[in-house]
């Protein structure tokens, strides 16, 4: 009657081992599941935080939309000028400053002569190169001046900002200084000072910057001559000078 015989020591040990292995497997699975869950939660929360912080594309009310703009640009020059250029510029961008220094006077002369009009697409992504968010504050101020005083004053203010561009990673001019330059360019102090301080076009500037990327411009200055994107700033300088001759 072997079946009724109690299990031998070896059989009992084997059974105990199998049971222990099953327990360990269950425990392992539970821990792995917990670790996976923790990682997924960390990733999910981070993803959520990043998406929430990025307000790109959020609608702007009428009060957050500057006047005297066309799309996300301020157009300087005669509407019927035969040649159109688009300059995508960040106020903090040093290459934009060099670009403006190299082509500014020639472009201004061609604009005055009615030969060309320029769409200034002011964008801001260089707050990371400023200790006091100069890039976005200056971009807002440019649209404030365009809204309050029109494209010609905007252009003078724009030139003043590039002549006085702060070095990267420094503290740029504060709001009071921006207001002072805006007035110097010809804007009415009462009209521009509060909107500059309140950063009223912040969301507009964010959306303009996203539009730049959608327009295929991956950096500033981004230069189009009659809808043809120049491949790099160096080429852009010679092409613009050639076009306005």
């Amino acid at each position: 009657m072997t079946t009724s015989k109690p299990p031998s020591t070896a059989e009992r040990a084997a059974a105990a081992l199998r049971e222990q292995q099953r327990r360990e497997q269950r425990r392992s699975l539970a821990i792995v599941g917990a670790v996976v869950a923790v990682l997924v939660i960390i990733g999910g929360l981070t993803w959520f935080a990043i998406s929430r912080e990025d307000t790109t594309g959020a609608p702007v009310a009428a009060s957050g939309t500057p006047g005297n703009t066309d799309g996300y640009s301020v157009v300087v020059g005669a509407a019927d000028a035969p040649l159109t250029m688009k300059f995508y510029e960040d106020p903090q961008c040093p290459i934009c400053q060099q670009f403006e220094a190299q082509v500014g006077p020639e472009v201004a002369a061609a604009v005055d002569a009615g030969k060309v009009k320029v769409e200034y697409h002011i964008v801001s992504f260089l707050d990371r190169a400023s200790t006091n968010a100069y890039s976005s504050r200056a971009a807002n101020a440019l649209y404030v001046v365009a809204d309050a005083a029109g494209p010609d004053v905007f252009k003078k203010f724009h030139d003043l900002l590039y002549e006085n561009q702060p070095a990267e990673n420094s503290a740029g001019p504060d709001d009071d200084q921006l207001i002072q330059w805006a007035v110097q360019a010809g804007a009415d102090e009462d009209a521009v000072s509060q909107p500059i301080k309140d950063d009223v076009y912040a969301q507009w500037v964010t959306n303009a910057t996203d539009q730049m990327s959608k327009d295929g411009v991956n950096g500033t200055p981004g230069v189009f001559i009659d809808d043809k994107l120049q491949p790099d700033p160096g080429t852009a300088v010679s092409a613009v000078l050639e076009a306005v001759k």
Binding site: S28, T56, T209, N218, P231
Partner: protein
Amino acid sequence: MKEWFGTLARLVVGGVWLAAGLLKVTDGAGSVRAVRAYDLLPESVVPTVGHALPALEIVVGLALVLGALTRWVAVVSALLQLAFIIGIASAWARGLQIDCGCFGGGGFDADATSKYPWEIARDTGLLLLSLWLVRRPRTRLSLDTFIFRPLTAPPERLDHDDEQAPVHR
């Protein structure tokens, strides 16, 4: 020795992922633009990828540095590196001049063409280290030691093949 090399690989690859992800979390919009600059993905998924990628990088980095679920995470790490190598090589081949956006930033870069080979070499190195960890996920100073630790010491008769015991995955 090999277990210590694995620890080093984990810290290097994980550290790079953590840095890459953390430098991007504060600028989701910039991350989206960097993804868009490659001009490889349809616009409908570009914002999602731009926002999710830094989060994924942080999770992969964290898990590798801690040594949690090393083998699976290393598989994800290797796949991501492969995708980046393809992206950079493709940008290079198409004559795009963009910063890879690997550590924030992104967008036009006049020196891009001279940086592409170095970026691809770096990512290939990280890919190889990730593959090493897929092959040998058991490393020193890792959470996996606790995650996959048996409750009790294995029975005496299993001792001889303990070094490659199947519990370590």
